[in-house]
Symmetry: C3
Amino acid sequence: MDVALHFKVQDLNARYVHAIDEDRLEEWPDFFAADGRYRITTAENVARGLPLSLMSATSRAMMRDRVNSLRNANVYESQRYRHAVGTPVLEPVQNGIVRAVTNFLVARIMHTGETTLFATGRYEDRIALPADERPHFLEKTVILDSRQIDTLLAIPL
Amino acid sequence: MDVALHFKVQDLNARYVHAIDEDRLEEWPDFFAADGRYRITTAENVARGLPLSLMSATSRAMMRDRVNSLRNANVYESQRYRHAVGTPVLEPVQNGIVRAVTNFLVARIMHTGETTLFATGRYEDRIALPADERPHFLEKTVILDSRQIDTLLAIPL
Amino acid sequence: MDVALHFKVQDLNARYVHAIDEDRLEEWPDFFAADGRYRITTAENVARGLPLSLMSATSRAMMRDRVNSLRNANVYESQRYRHAVGTPVLEPVQNGIVRAVTNFLVARIMHTGETTLFATGRYEDRIALPADERPHFLEKTVILDSRQIDTLLAIPL
């Protein structure tokens, strides 16, 4: 087992969720390749082989657009997220790319202070490990356990 | 501190909870030795020195029986678990065995999508570290913080 | 990335939360320097630049006093905490000191068994890394996401 690799992935995950949880959303696209893919779906969709997404972006530019929309819609100001992210399970590295599956739980804290367990699920990621840069996501699929979708689900997870 | 050892235990824990959370219950017994022991109890029972268990298995064969029962009773289909597992605190290795104590929080997601914080507590594990195989549990004691026991508690934690 | 350093911080965090969660509160001050600082505040206070604290101690002796008060007030017996703590994000070490930011979620389990998601937020820590001793906190700031403060918030987080 490659300890340094595990650490790189854990560090990437930690920085990723901190950016979201601390409302540094503008940094969110930078965790992806320029043609990186991001998608939120449900375990039920995956089990049924349905290609449905609750949110989808196929480039960093689309992600930036989404962040701009969120800022203009002012949705984000009214709530915060807080992620608990597990230890990733890694597949062997191939061509400088590693696949990782990682559990997450997300709490949502409303402006009133009300705190709920908002979302749970797993990340299925493909991560590039360039020798001279930070690791980043080529693809991140967020698979939610619940089929009950909050209409406010506009903020990346 | 032995970094590689810590990683092995974290990786074992991650694979263990992924198998449960992804409904690959048939793999659950394989995380244990053939004569491995699994037990769920409460912090109150432990504090009082009571040997009571909410679930108990003293071999891999008993674990397989339990999984078969669960599949036949169809209990598992109606719900999912999602674990958040902490960093294990390890004792020094003795004779190729390490003791680990690890925090966990488990969310339960019902078929309707309703998500609740289902169980919290700690794992107290004895883990074998064979040179030529994956680490596995000799003994896993799940100590629940709450005394309030859900009658559906039939799925391993 | 210094893997061994990351592990030291994760191990410190794990031991810290286990001491609280297992009601070994008397050990809590020992995770700090003699003149260590501990403070609980909210994200809203931090964003507004307000120096308000919900709990504050500026030495290990003050922390011991707090534990004694808690024991005499008997508050702690009626509830348990269970922490889920994330992977710390570290800044470069300077003069044997490292800054770490770490996500946490805390469940509270009442004597009745009722379990709720009690608190979420981040730790902002300054950690001393002496060559011949265990790492310990010079300063720990607990920044809560919620502004809704439970009146029972008397136990360290």
